[in-house]
């Protein structure tokens, strides 16, 4: 039962353009969503998060949008840079998923071409 899904295993964009990474979830009780970034041979690092009471959160070049009715969130990176090339995981928590347990999606590998 995959509660958090990232249906695109990979994405390739040109430097300077927008990258849009998508994530869908099935548990309507999730109340907090996070994006993590992972470089090869390193652990995931926290990037940005959003509470279910909001529909947008922005941090520099990174913006996360939440559409609760569609159970969908997306991460926008503008402008994309080659250093953004990594695997991006969305994660969710809340409801019956209690006490700090994050449910991760499968990840999307972003490649930003110079």
């Amino acid at each position: 039962d995959q509660q958090v899904k990232q249906n695109s295993p990979s994405l390739s964009v040109q430097e300077g353009r927008i990258s849009i990474l998508n994530c869908d979830y099935t548990n309507s009780m999730f109340d907090y969503f996070l994006w993590y970034k992972k470089y090869p041979a390193e652990g995931p690092t926290f990037l940005i998060s959003i509470s279910s009471i909001k529909d947008k959160n922005e941090d520099g070049r990174f913006t996360v949008f939440l559409n609760k009715s569609a159970k969908h969130l997306s991460l926008h990176i503008v402008p994309s840079q080659p250093g953004d090339s990594a695997v991006y995981f969305c994660a969710a928590s809340g409801g019956s998923v209690k006490g700090g347990k994050l449910i991760f999606g499968q990840g999307t590998e972003l490649s930003v071409k110079p």
């Binding site: 996070l34 652990g43 995931p44 926290f46 998060s49 809340g94 006490g99 994050l102 499968q106």
Partner: protein, 115 residues
Amino acid sequence: EAGVVQSPRYKIIEKKQPVAFWCNPISGHNTLYWYRQNLGQGPELLIRYENEEAVDDSQLPKDRFSAERLKGVDSTLKIQPAELGDSAVYLCASSFGRANTGELFFGEGSRLTVL
């Protein structure tokens, strides 16, 4: 400030052999997590500690996996005996308090290959 430290980084063993992974969390972080990441998948929680108490081990295969966090600081995760399907990256993470709305700090992971 030092991050989450894990060892070994890489381990290759034959099936049925035992293996152990060690984790030192960020100083002051009372919550420690062990996640397993299979190839092409996201991390999945195995066990979560608050101080020295395992508060969520529902996903830990208890027939062969064990974990401990003595004194509420360092932790070890053991597999005995290892099976081919245990090949994965084992990630340790820590946080201050419950990370429902906060971030987890991950170590670099221990990559296990079972032959």
